[in-house]
C-alpha cells in the first residue's frame, strides 16, 4: 500500500485525506475510455463470465451472488464487465431470468451516475475470485474457525427505488455547520439529562463553545452501603460500656453505613472514535458520609469517652478547684438518685446495717457510634497523547496527576489512586503494552478510605515498569512482566483521624517514628484462555507470582534491621459451563518462621485490592480483623487477603514479618437471569507460619488453620445495565483451630459479614 506511509504523521491527516482522494481518482483518469456505464449485482447463486457474448464461449471465471460488477458496455442481455485491472481484461455476462421473476443480474447503480461521486475502489471481478487466502496473514496467526465470504443479498428491485440525483440537478442538500448535530437540526430533542441518546454531557457531541473536537463527559456515581458484621474487638481497659465486660474481647457486633457521591468530570480533545484522543483532563471529586456503630468504647476513637452517649461526659464536670489541675467528673449514669447499698465493713457495728434488697442493675448503654464525613479527590490527571507510532494507532501517552492504577490483573500488588506520572503505550497492533511510572501515595482519610489531598503526600514512592504481551505464550493469553520498587521514607509518627497512632504500627519494639524500607517486587502475571493448549478444556487462567526483595531499616516486630525475602503466588483456574462459571483458586503468601531473626520472609504488598477468591463478598478479604492483645495491628486488612499485620492497609506501612497465608478456594458465578448473578465461594485458609503471632500474643497455637470462609452474593441489575446495580452478600468465617486459639470463645467461632450495596451511575 503506497498510501500507508503517509499516515505516519497524524497531524496532517486532513491533508492526507485530500491526497487520498486524488490518488483514488488517478485510475479513473487512466481508464476514462472505459468508464462504466452502470453497475450490476449478481443475484443468481453463481454466474459464469464468458470470453465473448455467446453462451458457448469459453468460461473466464465464475462469480458468486452478491458481487458488484462494473458494466462497460451492453449488448442486449449481455453485459461487458471489467475482469481485472489489466488493459482489455474484460468478460461477458448474460442477464437471465430466475424463478419468481427475478433476474440473475440486478442493475445496482443506474446508468448515468457520476462515477466521481462514487466512493470506493474500481471493481474488478477477478479480485473477488481470489485464492481464498487472506493476504498478509501468516498461516499460524489466522483467527481460528471457518470464515465464509461476506454475501450481500439485496432485495430485488421493485422499480420504486429512487435513482441517484443527476449531476446537473440543483443541490437538494443544505450545508450543515456541525456534523455532530444533524439530528438536532432536524428537530430531534435530546434533553440534557438523557444519557442514552446523544448528550453533550456524556461526550457524544463536542462542546461547540470550546472547539469542534473538545468533549466533556460528566458522570456521577452514588454508592450506598449498609454493612452488618461481627469482628473481634478489644474491650477498653479503663471504660466499660457494660459492667459485665470483664474480658479482653468485646461484643463483636458492628454495623456500618456509608454514602458516597463520586463525580467524574473529564474533558477530552480529539476524535474519540477512530483514534486515541489527544488530550484528556479528568477530575473526580468525591463526598462521603459514614456512620459506624460498635458495642465497645475506645474502638472507633482512641478516646473511649468519645462514644455516642458518652460524648459530653468528659466536659460536664470540669472544676478548677484543685491547685490548678482541672478535675473532670464522670457522672456515673444510673448512679443518681440510687440509694447506696448498705455495704459496711465487718468490723463496723452491725446495727448500722440496712437490708440490701435486690441488687439493682444500672442502666446500660450498649454501643458507641461515630459519624464522619469527608470530601476528597479520587482522580485528577492530565493525559497527553504523545504520538502515534503505527497506522494501527499504537501510541505513547503520558498521564500526570492522581490516577488509578493496577499493576496486575487482580490487584494483588498495587491498586491505588495515587499521585504519579505514567508513561504508557503499546506497540505491534496492541500486542505489546507497557507502563513506566512513578507514583507517590496520597494520605487516605481514615474512616472513608478516600484520598485526602489536604495532607502532604506520603513519602512513599513506587517506581514501576511492566510490559504486557498478548497471545503469549498461548493465543488468547496475555503475559505481564513487572518490576516495582517501593521506597518508603516516612520518618514522622502519624496519628489517624481517630487519634490512633498508625505509623509506625504500635507493635513489638516500635520505634518512636517509622523507619524506612525499600522493596523491589519482580513479578510475572498472566491472564487469558488455555484453549490453544487444551481446546477441549476451555479453561481460563489468571495467575500472579511475585518475589519481594529489599530491606527494612527497623521492623517493629523484629525490633531490628530486616532483609526482606518474600514470595507470593496466586492462581485462579476457571471454566464456563453455559451460564455457570466455576473457579478454583490457590494463593500462597510466604510467612516468617522466625520473627526475631534478621530476615523478614512474610510477603506484603504495596497496596492490595485483590479481586480474588470471592473478593469483597468473602469474610476474610472484606473484613479487617484486629489482632486483639497482639499490638495495634490487624491480622488482615479490610479489602485485603494478606495476613500482613499492618496497622492499617490504607495508612500503615508494609510489614514483612507476618504469618503469611495459604488459601485454597472454589467458587462459581451463576448467571441465573440476565439481570441476576449469584456468586458463591468457599475458601479454606491457613497461616503459612504462626511464630510471629505466637511471639506477639505470647501464646502457642495448636494449628495453622484459620478456617473456612463461606460466602454468597447476588448482583442484580434490574435494567440490564450498569446504571443501577444492587449487590448483596453474606459470609461466615468458621474459625479453625488456629484462629480459635487466637480469638476463641463462642462468639468468635462463627463470624459473619453481610452487606447490601446500591450503586447508581449516571
Amino acid at each position: 500500500m503506497p498510501h500507508a506511509k503517509l499516515f505516519d504523521n497524524p497531524r496532517s491527516s486532513r491533508f492526507l485525506l485530500r491526497c487520498l482522494l486524488c490518488l483514488s481518482l488517478l485510475p479513473l483518469v487512466l481508464e476514462a475510455a472505459l468508464a462504466p456505464i452502470m453497475t450490476v449485482q449478481v443475484a443468481a447463486p453463481r454466474v459464469r463470465l464468458l470470453r465473448t457474448p455467446n453462451d458457448k464461449a469459453g468460461v473466464v471465471a465464475e462469480v458468486d451472488r452478491g458481487r458488484l460488477l462494473d458494466v462497460l458496455s451492453r449488448q442486449g442481455d449481455w453485459y461487458l464487465v471489467r475482469l481485472s485491472n489489466l488493459p482489455g481484461a474484460t468478460a461477458w455476462v448474460k442477464q437471465s431470468s430466475l424463478a419468481h421473476g427475478d433476474s440473475a443480474l440486478i442493475p445496482f447503480v443506474a446508468p448515468g451516475t457520476a462515477i466521481g461521486a462514487r466512493r470506493g475502489p474500481v471493481r474488478y471481478a477477478e479480485d473477488e475470485i481470489g485464492s481464498g487466502q487472506e493476504p498478509g496473514k501468516m498461516p499460524g496467526l489466522a483467527r481460528p474457525g471457518p470464515r465464509g465470504r461476506p454475501v450481500v443479498t439485496l432485495p430485488p428491485a421493485t422499480g420504486l427505488e429512487l435513482s441517484a440525483p443527476a449531476p446537473n440537478l440543483p443541490r437538494e442538500s443544505l450545508p450543515l455547520p456541525d456534523r455532530w448535530r444533524i439530528m438536532q437540526s432536524l428537530g430531534f430533542k435530546f434533553p440534557w439529562y438523557d444519557p442514552y441518546n446523544q448528550n453533550v454531557l456524556k461526550g457524544d457531541i463536542p462542546v461547540r463553545e470550546l472547539g469542534d473536537d473538545i468533549f466533556i463527559n460528566v458522570g456521577a456515581v452514588v454508592d450506598g452501603l449498609a454493612e452488618f458484621r461481627e469482628v473481634p474487638i478489644p474491650v477498653n481497659p479503663t471504660i466499660a460500656l457494660r459492667d459485665t465486660a470483664s474480658d479482653a474481647f468485646g461484643d463483636p457486633t458492628q454495623n456500618l453505613q456509608a454514602a458516597t457521591v463520586l463525580l467524574n468530570l473529564s474533558l477530552t480533545k480529539g476524535n474519540t472514535t477512530y483514534m486515541p484522543p489527544e488530550l484528556e483532563l479528568r477530575l473526580a471529586p468525591v463526598f462521603n458520609y459514614n456512620r459506624a456503630e460498635v458495642r465497645e468504647a475506645g474502638v472507633l476513637r482512641a478516646d473511649p469517652l468519645a462514644c455516642g452517649d458518652y460524648d459530653q461526659l468528659g466536659d460536664v464536670f470540669t472544676s478548677a478547684s484543685d491547685a490548678g489541675n482541672p478535675v473532670v467528673g464522670i457522672d456515673v449514669p444510673g448512679d443518681d438518685g440510687l440509694d447506696l447499698l448498705p455495704v459496711v465493713p465487718a468490723e463496723d457495728p452491725v446495727s448500722d446495717l440496712e437490708p440490701t434488697g435486690p441488687f439493682e442493675v444500672y442502666r446500660q448503654r450498649d454501643h458507641c457510634t461515630r459519624h464522619d464525613s469527608f470530601a476528597g479527590i479520587q482522580e485528577f490527571f492530565l493525559d497527553y497523547h504523545l504520538r502515534d507510532v503505527s497506522p494501527r494507532y499504537d501510541f505513547d501517552s503520558i498521564r500526570v496527576g492522581i490516577q488509578p492504577y493496577t499493576n496486575d490483573f487482580r490487584g494483588f500488588l498495587f491498586q491505588d489512586l495515587a499521585f504519579g506520572v505514567r508513561l504508557f503505550g503499546n506497540r505491534d497492533n496492541n500486542h505489546w503494552q507497557y507502563n513506566l511510572a512513578w507514583f507517590r501515595r496520597i494520605e487516605k482519610d481514615t474512616n472513608s478510605g478516600l484520598n485526602d489531598i489536604t495532607r502532604a503526600l506520603r513519602e512513599d514512592d513506587t517506581f514501576l515498569f511492566n510490559v504486557y504481551r498478548q497471545d503469549f505464550p498461548l493465543v488468547g493469553f496475555t503475559s505481564e512482566l513487572s518490576v516495582a520498587h517501593n521506597r518508603n521514607g516516612e520518618d514522622q509518627q502519624y496519628q489517624d483521624t481517630n487519634d490512633f497512632v498508625i505509623r509506625p504500627a504500635i507493635v513489638g519494639s516500635a520505634a518512636q517514628d517509622p523507619e524506612p524500607y525499600q522493596v523491589t517486587y519482580l513479578g510475572y502475571s498472566g491472564d487469558g484462555h488455555l484453549r490453544a493448549l487444551w481446546p477441549a478444556g476451555r479453561l481460563n487462567l489468571t495467575t500472579s507470582t511475585y518475589v519481594a526483595l529489599g530491606s527494612h531499616d527497623f521492623n517493629p516486630i523484629a525490633g531490628d534491621h530486616q532483609n526482606i525475602r518474600a514470595f507470593f503466588h496466586a492462581s485462579e483456574l476457571s471454566r464456563d459451563f453455559n451460564w455457570i462459571r466455576l473457579r478454583g483458586s490457590v494463593l500462597y503468601a510466604s510467612g516468617d518462621s522466625d520473627p526475631l531473626d534478621e530476615d523478614a520472609t512474610g510477603f506484603d504488598a504495596i497496596f492490595e485490592n485483590p479481586l480474588f477468591a470471592g473478593a469483597d463478598t468473602s469474610y476474610w478479604v472484606r473484613q479487617g480483623i484486629p489482632l486483639v492483645g497482639g499490638g495495634g495491628i490487624a491480622l488482615s486488612g479490610r479489602n485485603g487477603v494478606l495476613a500482613n499485620l499492618r496497622s492499617s492497609k490504607e495508612q500503615g506501612q508494609s510489614n514483612f514479618v507476618n504469618p503469611g497465608l495459604f488459601l485454597l478456594g472454589v467458587g462459581g458465578d451463576f448467571d441465573i437471569a440476565p439481570q441476576l448473578r449469584l456468586i458463591a465461594n468457599v475458601n479454606h485458609l491457613r497461616f503459612a507460619e504462626t511464630e510471629t503471632l505466637e511471639f506477639l500474643r505470647a501464646q502457642t497455637l495448636r494449628d495453622n488453620e484459620i478456617g473456612f470462609d463461606l460466602s454468597a452474593g447476588v448482583q442484580w441489575r434490574p435494567y440490564f445495565n450498569q446504571n443501577m446495580v444492587i449487590n448483596a452478600s453474606g459470609a461466615v468465617l468458621l474459625a479453625g483451630r488456629g484462629l480459635r486459639d487466637l480469638y476463641g470463645g463462642q462468639r468468635h467461632n462463627t463470624l459473619y459479614s453481610t452487606f447490601i450495596n446500591a450503586l447508581f451511575t449516571f
Partner: protein
C-alpha cells in the same frame, strides 16, 4: 575472710603468674542456685574493671541475692556519687522529683549505695527462671503510655509499681544480716537503667545494680526509642559486669511481649560492653560500704538459696502442697489468723486456704504473658487480707516473682481500703484530703469513697492516671493522680500517702502512712497502696446484708493475668465453699464472694481478663458475668 578459700587463692597465684593474660569471665563457684561470696567478688570486680576502663571515678555497685539480701556493696572512688532523683519531665521539685537524695535526712553519702541496692533488688525481684527483667524493663512499664513514646495509649502494665518494697512497709524484712526475704528496698522499685538479674545454669540467683558518675541521675528513661540507643553508662557497667551470669537470650525482656509490645532489656550497643574478661578475682580498687539495715561492709557474702527455708520461700505442706508459702510473716500476724476480731463474718482459715488454693490452681492453667518458653503457666503470688488490711495468708507458685509478695499485699489492701465506706475519712487522716475532694468532684457525688462502692485495684488505678481516660492525652487528670505536673516521682495519692516517710526514710515504723506530725497512722495501707490490676474486695452476705470482709489479690505475671487469677480464683473459691460448706452450726452458710456488679462503679472497668487466658482450653470469656 573465710570466703577466701583455696581455689580463690590459687586463682590469685595463677593471676600473678600470668598477669599479661586476660582471665575469662567470672566462673561459677558451685552449682547451687545461689550466689557465692566468691562469685559476688568476681562480679563486683568486673564492674570495677569496666568502670576503670571507661574512666569512671565514682561508682557504686550492689549485688543482691534473689530475695534481696545485699551480698556486696562496693564503692569505687573516694567521693560517692551525688544522686538526684529526676524524671526529666519536671523542672521544679515536686514530691520526689528533682530531689537530691544526698540532701535528705539520714541519707547523705549513702545515696548512691541506696540507689544501687534499689536497682539490684528491682532486677532480682522482677526476674525468674522464665523471665529476665532489668530496671530498664521496669522503667518501660510504669510510664504514662505503653509503649512510652506513643500518645493515646494507656499507661504501662505495672503503672505505679515503683512505690513497692518500701523500707517503711510492715511486710518486707529489714536488717543487715542475711535472712529470709523479701527484703526491703531502700528506694522502692527502681526504674533507672543499671540493674540486671544474674543467673546460674538457668536459675535466677541474684542481681546487680550500679550507680556511676560524680553526679548521677536516679530517674527513668523517657526516650525509649530503640533506634536511638542510650548507651547509659550505669547500664553498660552493670550489663558488662553480669558476664558469666547472664540469662539465656530467650528469656530476656526483649524476647517477651505484653499486649504485642516487646519489653526492653537494655539500651546499650552490645559492642560497647567490654569483653567478658576479668583480671582479678577480688576487687581491691575501692571499698566495701557498710549501710545500716542492708550491709555490714565486711566483704562479699553468700546469698540464700531460693526455695530453701533460709530464703523465706519454701514449699508448703497441707492444703497448699505443691505451692510455696511464707513460713512466718511478719511476726505480729500469723498466716492464718483466727476470725475472732471479725466475729462470724470474718474469713476462716479454711476459707483463706481455699481462696489461696483456688487462686493458685487458676494460675497453674493460666497462659503466662511474661514467661518463656511459650506455653508456661503464670507464676504468681496470691494474698488474702481482712477488712483492716491484715494479711491472712499468702502463697505462691514456685517460681513467682519476689516483688509480688509485697505488691499483692498492697493490692489486696488497696482494694479493701477503697471499697470501705471509711475510705474518705481515712484518706483525709493520712493527708489525702484533697484527693477525696477531687474524687467527689469527679464522681459528682459528695459521698465518694463513703458509699461503699466496690473498687478493684484496676478501678482505683483507672482514676489514678495523669489522664482520664487512661492514656488519652489532653484529657484532665484522674482524681487521685497528679495532672500536668505528673511524673513517675510525683504520681499523686499513691506517693503522697508515703511521701513523708520516704523523705525521712524512717525504716522501722509500723506503717508507711504518717499524719501531719510524722506520726504513723495505720489506715490499713501499712506498706503503701498500689494502682495496677489484680486486687479485689471480698464480700459476704448475712441476714440479707452485704459485708466487706477482706480482699484477695494476685501478682507476678501480666496485669491482665493478675486480674484473671484473683478474680476467677475468688469465684471458684466461692463455688467450692458453697458446694462443701463447713460442718458447723451455721444455719445458712454464705461463702465469701465477689460484690454484685450493682455496687461496682458503673462505667469504670472492674476487671479485665486476658485474651486466650488458659493453656488447657480455648475459653475466651472466663470472667464474663461474674
Amino acid at each position: 575472710m573465710t570466703r577466701l578459700r583455696l581455689p580463690a587463692l590459687f586463682l590469685l597465684v595463677l593471676c600473678a603468674l600470668c598477669a599479661p593474660l586476660a582471665f575469662a569471665a567470672c566462673g561459677v563457684h558451685d552449682t547451687l542456685p545461689r550466689l557465692h561470696a566468691e562469685e559476688v567478688d568476681c562480679i563486683v570486680q568486673q564492674a570495677v574493671e569496666v568502670s576503670t576502663r571507661k574512666g569512671v571515678t565514682a561508682m557504686t555497685v550492689a549485688v543482691t541475692d534473689r530475695v534481696g539480701n545485699v551480698l556486696g556493696l562496693y564503692q569505687l572512688g573516694a567521693t560517692p556519687s551525688r544522686v538526684r532523683i529526676r524524671s526529666g519531665l519536671l523542672s521544679a521539685v515536686r514530691a520526689l522529683d528533682n530531689v537530691v537524695l544526698n540532701d535528705l535526712p539520714i541519707v547523705g553519702d549513702s545515696a548512691a549505695p541506696r540507689a544501687a541496692i534499689a536497682k539490684a533488688i528491682t532486677a532480682a525481684y522482677f526476674s525468674s527462671a522464665g523471665n529476665a527483667f532489668s530496671t530498664r524493663t521496669a522503667g518501660f512499664i510504669v510510664q504514662r503510655h505503653f509503649p512510652p513514646l506513643f500518645p493515646n495509649t494507656p499507661g504501662g502494665p505495672l503503672f505505679g509499681v515503683q512505690f513497692s518494697q518500701l523500707a517503711c512497709g510492715d511486710f518486707v524484712q529489714k536488717g543487715a544480716a542475711i535472712g529470709p526475704g523479701s527484703r526491703a528496698s531502700p528506694l522502692g522499685a527502681a526504674a533507672d537503667p543499671g540493674g540486671f538479674p544474674l543467673y546460674k545454669s538457668g536459675q535466677m540467683v541474684g542481681a546487680i545494680g550500679v550507680v556511676a558518675g560524680a553526679n548521677s541521675i536516679y530517674g527513668i528513661d523517657l526516650d525509649t526509642n530503640p533506634v536511638a540507643l542510650d548507651n547509659d553508662l550505669e547500664e553498660i557497667i552493670a550489663q558488662s559486669a553480669t558476664a558469666g551470669f547472664r540469662p539465656k537470650l530467650g528469656i530476656r525482656a526483649d524476647r517477651i511481649t505484653a499486649g504485642g509490645i516487646t519489653l526492653r532489656y537494655t539500651d546499650s550497643d552490645g559492642r560497647l560492653l567490654t569483653p567478658d574478661t576479668v583480671t582479678g578475682a577480688v576487687p581491691t580498687a575501692g571499698v566495701w560500704v557498710p549501710l545500716t539495715n542492708y550491709f555490714p561492709g565486711t566483704g562479699a557474702r553468700t546469698g540464700v538459696q531460693y526455695g530453701q527455708a533460709e530464703s523465706g520461700f519454701q514449699p508448703a505442706t497441707g492444703t497448699l502442697e505443691g505451692y510455696f508459702s511464707l513460713p512466718r510473716r511478719p511476726p505480729r500476724e500469723s498466716v492464718f489468723p483466727s476470725t475472732a476480731s471479725q466475729g462470724a463474718l470474718g474469713l476462716t482459715q479454711r476459707e483463706v486456704e481455699t481462696l489461696l488454693k483456688q487462686t493458685l490452681d487458676v494460675a497453674r492453667v493460666t497462659r503466662s504473658q511474661i514467661r518463656r518458653p511459650l506455653g508456661e503457666y503464670a507464676q504468681v503470688t496470691a494474698t488474702v487480707v481482712d477488712a483492716s488490711g491484715n494479711v491472712l495468708g499468702q502463697a505462691r507458685t514456685p517460681d513467682a516473682l519476689i516483688d509480688s509478695s509485697d505488691v499483692t499485699i498492697q493490692k489486696a489492701r488497696t482494694a479493701v481500703f477503697f471499697s470501705r465506706p471509711t475510705a474518705a475519712d481515712r484518706l483525709t487522716l493520712a493527708g489525702g484530703g484533697s484527693y477525696v475532694t477531687s474524687a467527689q468532684t469527679f464522681f459528682g457525688r459528695s459521698d465518694a469513697f463513703r458509699n461503699g462502692r466496690a473498687f478493684s485495684t484496676r478501678a482505683v488505678g483507672s482514676i489514678h492516671r495523669p489522664n482520664f481516660p487512661d492514656g488519652i492525652d489532653g484529657k484532665p487528670r484522674g482524681p487521685l493522680s497528679r495532672g500536668a505536673d505528673w511524673s513517675p516521682f510525683n504520681v499523686g495519692l499513691e506517693l503522697d500517702l508515703v511521701l513523708r516517710n520516704l523523705q525521712i526514710l524512717r525504716e522501722t515504723p509500723s506503717t508507711c502512712t504518717l499524719n501531719s506530725s510524722n506520726v504513723g497512722v495505720n489506715i490499713g495501707l501499712a506498706n503503701g497502696m498500689t494502682i495496677f490490676p489484680g486486687g479485689f474486695p471480698i464480700y459476704r452476705e448475712m441476714n440479707g446484708s452485704l459485708y466487706i470482709i477482706g480482699a484477695i489479690s494476685a501478682s507476678g505475671d501480666g496485669s491482665d493475668q493478675s486480674d484473671l487469677i484473683a478474680f476467677v480464683g475468688l469465684q471458684r473459691a466461692t463455688e467450692a465453699l458453697a458446694a462443701a460448706p463447713p460442718p458447723t452450726l451455721m444455719v445458712a452458710y454464705k461463702p465469701p464472694r465477689h460484690p454484685p456488679s450493682s455496687i461496682r462503679v458503673s462505667g469504670l472497668k472492674y476487671v479485665q481478663c486476658p485474651q486466650s487466658p488458659f493453656l488447657d482450653s480455648t475459653v475466651q470469656d472466663p470472667c464474663a458475668g461474674l
